[in-house]
Amino acid sequence: MDTKKRTPFFRIPAVQTLIASLLCILLGLIVGYIALLLINPTGAWGAITSIVKNFWNYPNLNQQLRYLGNTLVKTAPLLMCSLSVLFAYKVGLFNIGAAGQYVAGAGAALYCALSLHLPWYVCMIAAAVAGALLGCISGLLKAYRNVNEVISCIMLNWIGLYTVNSILSSVKDPTSPYTLGLANTNPGAIMPSLGINKLFTNNRYTTLAIPLAILIAVLVWLVLSKTRLGYELKATGMNKNAAKYAGMREKYNIILTMGIAGALAGLGAAMFYLSGYEQWSVTQSSVPAMGFNGIAAAFLGGLHPIGTIFSSFFIQQITDGGGYVDMTMYSSDISDFISSLIIYLCGFVLFFRQFMNSRLNRRDELKLKGGDR
């Protein structure tokens, strides 16, 4: 056989992943549309299009850009959460704890900003450390006590939520359940904009966070594909017995991975809360959805760091788009419905790729047979 033969287009893994992801999106939207039809057929088409359009729902360019900015403000933390999920998954760990690590990061960032009046970069580091600590607990429990990381992560999500609620109660606005506004209390904790806001019609929430998140995605890709660390971590994820046999420190790698994943999610929280876009409600009784949406983005992006940049944007686009449905007929939760459907469908991607390959094999075989005659 020719060793340098080019792989046929449809056999390239990236192409297959892309097709699979697009199919997931399409199916998710169709099922969402059917749900809307069932609830109220008259406005269903309008609702599904306004979900997908999101900022395009506005008539003029300036408004579009401003609201695109808002979506990007939330895309940055989502991207970080999906990188967190992806990074852990490469080592064979399912980091459902990104949500809790995100909470821990938010708590640390806001406490440093509002109570200790520290500058933004210190707050960010604190957030990363807090997220990493929470991740390390799961890693330690997995490595030394064989505790399933999914269950420990869920427990830590709740523990993290209640702890952060307690801690942030000390910097609460006396008249509302929310934490104090950053702009009034400590403007130095708001991430610098570096002129990025000019691009989005002076949307003051668009900051350094957006390019930084993309940069980190590229960095994660480089670490996984080009470095010794990535080589070790991936080997551990694919075959931990072989990794151990080759002298890699399996337990250390598990803890390190969960630590890095936690730091990524924690950093994501800092990117969001240090933009001043939103305050933390100390009475909230459920974990923010950002971490869970990160799972959707990670898998939809084909578990590739560059892919997740686009999938994160898409997930955030429809999540925000949910706000534009006709509230007299539907609820904005329809977007959560669609994105959780997409996660569910991502479970079928592996099967889909196998199916595609077997179809291609059969086609090739037929071709060969035809050629013989």
Binding site: A35, N146, I151, L156, T163, S340
Partner: protein, 313 residues
């Protein structure tokens, strides 16, 4: 004190039912991370039944029909896991996670749609069932006995018999331990796994109904079930996949969960002046500690989480 026992028993019932559900799924070889979602689906089914039953229905009818509805919804929803994990060999953790998110989102959308249709100004995600709920309660000298406590005990006995005294139980466990061996003696591994997952849907569905009727107020569907499905998994692991030990574990966890509801009634605890968040965290912290102590020597079914492929023998 009576209140504590009351809450402990009702929370223990929830955990027991859901953990038994997890136990059946895992004995068949499928890890059911989606128990939370199944609980929500069951809760939705039960709540809707309570809402739409005529107000003058007898208590027995309310009890039976709403349980039936919860069971049915739980089973149907569990099929999402069964199809993907058994037929399509999907990542069971991923699918389970998706199911948890999906159930909350779908239930919220659905309930809000119903409420908005009735009254355009009502955008809440609650279902009115306060009156119907009373059918489940029997007041015995200040102690609110809930029929679900009895149901949990009955189902515990059933589960034990089913697992250890019947042909079905033997075959189910064989599929979770060594599916190739089960296949080689003519047992249809796929069918048994479907059965295991659907049983977990049935039990998880009832568990969800018990959960929403346990609280004083009405349940908001957008809140989901606050990690109860995962607490139930912890109970199951602590109970080493054995129904009777799961029951004991459920009582222990039920105790810690109920503390957050009633700690103010105990002068000793109230004097500690701990923030309520500490009590809220307690069940999760306890379960982490328990898991750390018991997971090392676990008696988990050997083939759990591994998709069965007839081809690779």
């Amino acid at each position: 004190m009576l209140l504590l026992i009351q809450y402990m028993l009702i929370f223990a019932s929830v955990l027991l039912l859901v953990a038994l559900g997890g136990c059946f799924a895992e004995h068949s070889g499928v890890i059911n991370i989606g128990l939370e979602g199944i609980m929500v689906a069951g809760a939705l089914g039960g709540a809707l039944m309570m809402k739409y039953l005529p107000a003058d229905s007898s208590a027995a009818a309310v009890v039976c029909l709403s349980i039936l509805a919860a069971m049915l919804c739980g089973i149907i929803y569990s099929l999402l896991l069964a199809v993907s994990a058994i037929n399509f060999k999907a990542d069971q953790t991923l699918v389970g996670t998706a199911m948890n998110l999906l159930a909350v989102a779908a239930a919220t959308v659905f309930v809000k749609a119903i409420n908005t249709a009735e009254n355009p100004n009502n955008v809440s995600a609650t279902i009115q069932y306060v009156n119907a709920k009373k059918a489940f309660l029997v007041n015995i000298g200040g102690f609110e006995f809930n029929w679900f406590m009895l149901l949990a005990v009955i189902l515990l006995i059933c589960a034990n018999v089913l697992l250890y005294r019947t042909k079905f139980g033997l075959r189910l466990m064989a599929c979770g331990e060594h599916p190739q061996a089960a296949d080689s003696v003519g047992i249809n591994v796929y069918k048994m796994r479907y059965a295991g997952v659907m049983l977990s849907g049935l039990l998880g569905g009832i568990g969800g109904l018990v959960y929403i009727t346990a609280g004083v107020s009405e349940w908001k569907f957008e809140n989901g079930v606050a990690g109860f499905g995962f607490l139930a998994l912890a109970v199951m692991i602590f109970g080493q996949w054995k129904p009777t030990r799961i029951a004991l574990a459920a009582l222990l966890f039920g105790l810690f969960r109920s503390l957050s509801n009633v700690y103010t009634g105990f002068p000793f605890l109230a004097n500690l002046n701990l923030p309520s968040n500490v009590y809220n965290m307690l069940p999760y912290i306890i379960s982490l500690i328990v898991l750390a102590l018991t997971s090392k020597r676990s008696a988990a079914p050997k083939a759990e989480g591994i998709p069965y492929d007839k081809g690779s023998r």
